[in-house]
Subunit: 456 residues, 2 copies
């Protein structure tokens, strides 16, 4: 027996016990959701009738009104908005011109919370770094008075794990560059595509660090700048990144299916309503709110669950999880039976993680068995995630993580290319089927509504 | 025997006679060109050090200087520029805002020769048509005073043949809309991708027809506008397409490898130097001039051909084939042994057409045999093409058409996305190998340069 076949045997032996029998109601709800149209209807409607909905702006307010109308029309109960205040940032004119040695225009977008340049821009010599570590290691003298450029080598991954490490140039780069005296920074977009669409995203300057203009070049433009820098001549750039800051309001839109037993803690499912401002936020995150809401609607169509299902369309996720923080403040002491958020596009669910606790392991295993026919791999029993629900999960509340395939997510993420055509309706339906099955398993059984006597 | 196998047999029986033996010199030159670096070097250099080079502008002038320097440095003879005058058109600010019923920004680019809007744009109701035929059939009343939108259903094709029929909305749409009294027109970009990068391209208003602003929406934006129109409410758009017209100069850059027998007519190979203004013109047409020039250079490296090889980097192709017309005017009465132009991207050559005449059929068959090992299918013996050389071909001069795979060409064609990263270096080398083999077959044999006595 070879070492590798020994290893394969060990894997088989370590596999979970035989799958559990899935209750017919769960299987039936799951399989019929493979024909779902609710999620497409929500995604198409929100992206078409509202389009971009940047946090704290009037566009997000219109999106909230749209959401309330939609959730009421779908028949959910207790539809309401919980408002909160937030600082706002909005984009103005943007350009990046190489003045010498090879005059040409590059395509750039400001990062969220970038400082503004004057309308006529600022001009400086570009100093390039292949990685964030190279910038960190640079002397202040090498950077002072210059426009910093930072590249990276973010790979595609199914689980999106490259975004953490390789997102460093966006998250930490501007602060590091400013501390070393740079007048601005441009980064290679945190993305995996090769289109002339820049990837924006939020960043924050550490306390006491002076904000500087910070932008993302598209990947083709970043590679162009690297080629220009390699010629070894001084590279002068005029960078215009106009933006405005202010104060505004955002809000979480909440709806419910009241459970048969109101004493039981609710299951929270959701996504975020706000989007970045250059696309229509189809994969980030119209699809997410659509998947969670469609699954709840399918449960509601089948009858009444034992537990309350609460749907939350969080506001202002992109600008710092303000919606999640507001929910934590207002509901963080209420028990929740499970939390789940869909916010990683519209790719097929390929894995189920959960963190329901040792005493609910049978339920977690049932969830795995119910999802396996959809091609979903059982994952960890001590993990769950979701940006807005992270504080609640960290506080120890139970959760489920239905991992979407993110292989192509960062081709489109935070770019003008985040539009409806990027969504595969079949993959969207598989998501709804997975979420429906999860709700069917966790919500304690669905019973037909008692027939109401007709009023005359 | 089934009908389909009978059909297959008929195809085999109709196949050309047994392939000819390819001279060792031709095979050796072809195969060594599969390791070519000249074409990449030219493509990378022109797109990096010049970038966009719109016809008649100072950027195209810089590109001509770059071309002259490059062709001289590569060792070609008789490097010269033949200048000509031309009308110019340059792009200004552009935007397309839906004002109602669903306020949002669409991404648009003006078509070449579009009329200019005022800086503040124009506002009108949008009237949509699924096809050019629908616009043609519309009454003047339906169009007058409105902004026309025309869609289409252009499919991918390997030979690019969809561009003719489905390019109608761009070429004829503006004229038809203007005649019916439209105040402007936006079309679905003539492309096959789904990115937020509009496809520009030239159009001309017929004599006596008033020029109106004419733009191309990206394909995702065109589909968004269709969805918005389908809601059935009046759609108001503010369209800003600022542009400037004027007069300028362009030129053809010409270089040669003088043949051993100067009495023999030359072989002309080339592409076009100018590009559209939003990308760096990598596939259109830096790759084309690079392929033709690299092949000639490989011949020159091997020695001296019997016939002169003339390389032409045409100017101002995109704005109406001005470079080809100027070459026709200055050289149209000179005999040419063969004409070939590379202007369909950087995809692999998949087919060879030629039009060398009945008396040169053996030469045409030899060309097929020499190219077959590169995976190139023998095509027609009465066809050749090339935009700038078309007038000469039409006048009856001999030509060769090395058809490139255009399956993905119209994803990128005339968009900001036409950048170096779209080129596959291996496919580029296969092109150079094909062009080198063609020149080796047609140029009458290459002999080593006689050794020059060294001067002291």
């Amino acid at each position: 027996m070879t070492r590798s076949s020994l290893f394969a045997l060990a894997l088989v032996l370590a596999a979970p016990a035989a799958a559990q029998t899935v209750p017919p109601q769960v299987a039936q709800l799951r399989d019929s959701a493979l024909h779902d149209d609710y999620a497409w209807d929500i995604t198409e409607g929100l992206t078409t009738e509202i389009g971009q909905r940047l946090a704290g702006t009037e566009a997000e307010a219109r999106a909230r009104d749209w959401a309330v109308g939609k959730l009421k029309a779908m028949g959910f109960s207790n539809v309401r908005v919980e408002m909160f205040d937030m600082p706002t940032w909005t984009r103005g004119a943007e350009s990046a011109d190489i003045l010498s040695p090879f005059p040409q225009k590059l395509v750039v977008a400001a990062l969220g919370n970038s400082a503004s340049t004057p309308p006529e821009g600022i001009t400086g010599e570009v100093v390039g770094f292949d990685t964030l570590a190279d910038l960190q290691a640079a002397s202040d003298e090498a950077v002072r008075g210059k426009i910093v450029f930072v590249s990276h080598a973010m790979p595609r991954t199914q689980d999106g794990s490259g975004y953490g490490y390789f997102g460093g140039p966006r998250r930490q780069g501007p602060g590091i560059a400013s501390k070393k005296g740079a007048i601005a920074i441009v980064i290679r977009s945190i993305g995996t595509d090769h289109h002339r669409n820049p990837h924006t995203g939020v960043m924050n300057f550490p306390d006491g660090v002076k904000p500087i203009p910070a932008g993302a070049l598209t990947l083709p433009d970043a590679e162009q700048l690297q080629r220009i820098l390699k010629r070894g001549k001084p590279v002068m750039m005029r960078l215009t990144l106009v933006s405005q800051t202010g104060h505004g309001q955002s809000g979480n839109v909440i709806a419910e299916i009241p459970g048969r037993d109101p004493r039981l803690s609710p299951i929270l499912v959701g996504g975020h309503l706000d989007s970045w401002d250059q696309g229509t936020g189809a994969i980030d995150d119209a699809a997410g709110v659509a998947i969670a809401t469609a699954a709840a609607k399918r449960i509601m169509d089948a009858g009444r669950p034992l537990r309350t299902i609460r749907i939350v369309w969080f506001g202002a996720e992109e600008f710092g999880l303000f919606g999640g923080q507001d929910y934590l403040k207002k509901h963080g002491t209420e028990p929740h039976y499970a939390l789940a958020e869909s916010d990683f596009g519209a790719g097929r669910v390929w894995r189920v993680n959960s963190k329901l606790g040792k005493e609910r392991e049978a339920e977690a295993k049932m969830l795995q068995s119910a999802l396996a026919p959809l091609g979903i791999v059982p994952g960890d029993l001590d993990k769950a995630d979701g940006s807005d629900i992270e504080p609640l999960l960290t506080a120890g509340m139970p959760g489920v993580g239905l991992s979407q395939d993110g292989t192509y997510y960062f081709d489109v993420h935070h770019t003008p290319d985040d539009t409806l055509d990027k969504i595969d309706p079949e993959a969207l339906r598989q998501n709804v089927a997975a979420w429906t099955a999860m709700l069917a398993v966790l919500s304690g059984g669905i019973e037909p509504e008692p027939k109401q006597p007709k009023r005359r």
